[in-house]
């Protein structure tokens, strides 16, 4: 380390060389700051030279495409993208908010008045129009209130960035007048403990949205085995002044069908999330802050490393992380949303749990991280990077695909996380005391369509979270993932499907599924309750990638482009609720629709595509199911 003072590293030599190039080119520091090509510290972004800075073709180094990170947002040259670039923000100033530290609030129960009822309480101002179908069978044991409203929150301690005017979820009723949280309060729940959330809309009226967002909401519990009327259907939105009771039974699929009374343990889910789903305005409202996470524990995934699967204990060593990317408008100092973009919207500043590029301190032991990408449109591929040793392969264990644990842990070097996907991982910092790692997104993406192909070289991507291994040495009673041979296993997929349906995701000048356009009242097809179906999802195009999400029921991936789902280098095998349809991908999926009835959507989770009609409605019914193979 002492030597570093006197001898320049290659990185430092490059920076100096770049500065000399800049002087020659007559480009001022101010110009570069404006363009966002210089860091807040006045340093050119790594690997950036003048020629690259002005949009020349990225150099190719071996098999890895390298692109300077700050130019990865397309800027006014393609599609409708506007040249709005965030001012520089000094990274790694703030601690990552966590439930461990109490800096990410956990939702707390409360009494509700008037008492919730199965039928909508229209007289009291409830916006719900459909009675709870499972209220008597699974009476709620815990009651929560949450209020959606506006507030100002700091996203960074960098004094040049003002507090951001966001929309978020405040714990409690409007009268309790608590501050908003972005991400929203964390729900920490257990299977077989049904809950009810009273969700109040107290957002500011139209005209006070700061440039985008519609104060009309519906909160979807993503991945929940939830009756339709509580699912947060995009068309079940409610207005300012109203509330909506959402009943979450927290039961395993199969409880009213194949596994009466208990449900199928192999259907267990761990990491869910919730977000606004207002039809046509999901991208704007979610970007404005209306999203949070929801964890489910059971007798195996217990949250206690002394029991069950012995996964790292919550909340000390089990840390949820919500990733998203945003643009700060230099004109207002506030987050900017590109309202007139159909491809998808990218940010150039990266937040984790609501803070710009924060820092997490850990002890030298195993941790469970739960990664969620809330978009709106960016795909991530996360690596663990040690900047002092860029050639090191810092592996970790992937234990989930979306809400579901994998069949067993898989050792990986990276995990790809499209919008709405979740990946739970176990990272072992044992023996790493004194080291610093970064969660680095190395996936190249130049516009909202999807990844552009290729990865940044290690250290050349975006460093989203700094992890410093400087905590005290503590006991680690969690199981070494190398010694975990199985979690729940997967349910059998040998049942004969009632029907095989085919879905093509298309751009025909507008976004479509099977040539048809979404409408709230258009039930495209009807599925028999407690039946098995095989679905083929096809991305018709190569430009756009579509992370497609089915509400209510997860699927098992049977094949991807005719091949069995892989477990290396990326883990594809497993139960999921979002299928990443990359260029022309075709995925064959096994579904079982059980227990509850009603209307559910299937849609692209690039929320810009979703808001522009890449969605359909189906209905789960007891009579009148169809066998339409291309609905």
């Amino acid at each position: 380390m002492r030597l570093l003072k006197y001898r320049l590293t290659k990185r430092q030599r490059d920076v100096l060389k770049n500065r000399q190039e800049l002087i020659k080119a007559g480009i001022s520091r101010r110009d570069l700051l404006k363009l966002g090509l210089m860091t807040s510290a006045g340093v050119l972004v790594d690997g950036l030279s003048v020629s690259k800075a002005f949009g020349q073709v990225a150099a190719s180094r071996g098999t890895t495409t390298t692109v300077p990170r700050s130019t990865s947002q397309s800027c006014g040259t393609r599609g409708s993208s506007l040249c709005v670039i965030s001012p520089p923000i000094q990274p790694f100033l703030d601690l990552l908010p966590t439930p461990r530290d109490g800096t990410w609030r956990v939702q707390t129960p409360t009494a509700l008045s008037p008492a919730p009822t199965a039928a909508p309480n229209t007289a009291a101002g409830e916006g719900r129009t459909i009675a709870h179908q499972a209220f008597t069978q699974f009476p709620p044991q815990k009651f929560y209130a949450v209020t959606q409203k506006a507030g100002a929150l700091s996203i960074t301690s960098d004094p040049t960035i003002a507090p951001q005017n966001l929309w978020g979820f405040a714990i409690g009723t409007p009268e309790q007048n608590n501050p908003i949280n972005v991400p929203g309060p964390l729900y920490v729940e257990r299977y077989n403990v049904p809950i009810l959330v009273r969700n109040y809309n107290r957002l500011p009226p139209e005209g006070q949205n700061g440039g985008f967002g519609k104060p009309s909401v519906t909160t979807h519990l993503h991945n929940g085995h939830t009756p339709s009327e509580s699912d947060g259907n995009p068309c079940n939105y409610f207005e300012i002044g109203q509330f909506y009771d959402q009943h979450y039974p927290n039961v395993l699929a199969g409880i009213n069908s194949t596994h009466p009374g208990t449900g199928d343990i192999q259907e267990s889910m761990s990491t869910l999330w919730y977000h606004d789903h207002r039809v046509d305005f999901t991208s704007q409202n979610t970007y404005k802050g209306l999203a949070g996470m929801y964890l489910l524990f059971n007798d195996f995934d217990t949250g206690d490393e002394l029991t069950g699967f012995h996964l790292p204990s919550f909340p000390q060593y089990d840390i949820p992380m919500v990733f998203n990317d945003k643009v700060i408008d230099p004109g207002t100092g506030q987050i900017f949303f590109d309202l007139f973009n159909l491809d998808g919207v990218l940010g150039d500043r990266y937040l984790v749990n609501g803070k710009v590029q924060p820092v997490l301190h850990v002890s030298p032991r195993r941790y469970r991280f739960r990664w969620l990408n809330t978009g709106p449109s960016r795909f991530h591929q996360f690596f663990l990077t040690d900047l002092t040793n860029l050639s090191a392969n810092n592996t970790f264990w992937q234990i989930s695909t979306d809400g579901n644990l994998t069949d067993k842990p898989y050792q990986v070097s990276s995990a790809r996380v499209a919008v709405a996907e979740r990946v739970d991982v176990i990272v072992d910092f044992t023996g790493k005391a004194g080291k610093t790692f970064y969660i680095e997104n190395r996936l190249v993406q130049n516009d909202g369509q999807g990844p552009s192909g290729g990865l940044f070289a290690a250290g050349q991507g975006n460093l989203l979270l700094k992890i410093v291994v400087d905590g005290p040495v503590v006991n680690d009673n969690s199981q070494n993932p190398a010694n975990i041979t199985a979690f729940y296993g997967f349910p059998s997929t040998t049942a004969t499907p009632r029907v095989t349906r085919n879905f093509t995701f298309q751009n025909r000048g507008d976004w479509r599924i099977n040539d048809k356009i979404f409408a709230c009242d258009d039930i495209r097809f009807r599925v028999q309750r407690n039946s098995v179906e095989i679905w083929n999802w096809q991305n018709e195009g190569s430009s756009w990638h579509h992370p497609v999400h089915m509400h209510f029921e997860e699927f098992q991936t049977l094949s991807i482009n005719g091949q069995a789902p892989a477990t290396s280098p990326l883990v594809q095998k497993g139960r999921k609720d979002v299928a990443r349809l990359e260029s022309r991908d075709n995925q064959r999926l096994f579904f079982r629709f059980r227990d509850f009835l009603g209307r559910y959507p299937l849609h692209c989770h690039n929320v810009v595509h979703e808001d522009h009609a890449m969605m359909l409605h189906l209905e789960i019914v007891d009579s009148g199911a169809d066998t339409n193979t291309r609905p």
Partner: protein
């Protein structure tokens, strides 16, 4: 409002490098003015005030005369278009009827030509007559460079360059918006007309919400009774343009 601050930056570690960089000269970040409102910025970025000519031969400025303070719909068409445009225009004529007296009173509909060299006001006027477009819905032409600017700024554009060269891929979506309320959305112009109407009203003035709800309920019940009586389907379904 952004905070205006002057801050002296000392040479310090680079964002990624983390440590060990040699000292750089001191740097002052310039102050940023923050006099513009979000509404101003949407206007500047997305609603250019270019001069257009209506199908009735009237010269208008896009922002000042057509969009400012208004509740609007905007789409793009061209009269020689054989695929989506005629179906979309016919569908939007149904939408216009469904929205009744709103159109022209406090809701303005605009269709901008993608082919300004061919689509003169006279050509647009005869198109309007052919399709039975009612009052309150203007067809607009202008200088090609202004039309291209509008197309990009209003987001009738795709990042895929091959597709972006094909005019037919810019005619699919109808934008709806309320300029002072900063509410902007879009719906495919060939969606069923009841749904297009419902989406447009998402951007209506909040005081109309109850009336809008009644209007939509009425449209839906009319549609349901048409379906029962086996009348013609209400919405054309496009065959699309090809694969991308």
């Amino acid at each position: 409002m952004s905070r205006m601050s002057r801050r002296t930056w000392l040479g310090m570690a680079g964002a990624a490098a983390g440590a060990g960089l040699v000292g750089l000269p001191q740097l002052q970040r310039e102050s940023r003015a923050a006099a513009l409102t979000p509404r101003d910025l949407i206007r500047q970025r997305n609603l250019p005030n270019v001069v257009l000519t209506t199908h009735e031969g009237e010269q208008v400025r896009f922002y000042d005369d057509l969009v400012k303070d208004r509740f609007v719909t905007i789409n793009m068409v061209y009269t020689s278009c054989k695929t989506t445009c005629p179906l979309t225009t016919a569908n939007l004529v149904r939408v216009q009827k469904m929205l009744g007296d709103r159109v022209g009173r406090d809701l303005s509909m605009y269709s901008i030509t993608l082919d300004p060299e061919h689509d003169t006001p006279e050509v647009l006027n005869s198109y309007v007559k052919t399709f039975g477009v009612g009052s309150g819905w203007k067809f607009l032409t202008g200088k090609p460079e202004d039309i291209e600017l509008l197309r990009r700024r209003l987001g009738f554009a795709w990042a895929n360059q091959e597709m972006d060269r094909n005019k037919d891929f810019h005619t699919g979506n109808l934008r709806y918006g309320n300029e002072p309320l900063m509410l902007w959305g879009a719906v495919p112009g060939m969606a069923e007309p009841e749904w297009v109407s419902e989406c447009i009203l998402f951007a209506d003035w909040p005081q109309n919400r109850e009336k809008d709800r009644e209007r939509i309920a009425q449209l839906k019940s009319r549609k349901a009774s048409r379906a029962e009586s086996g009348a013609n389907p209400t919405a054309p379904i496009a065959q699309g343009h090809g694969h991308h």
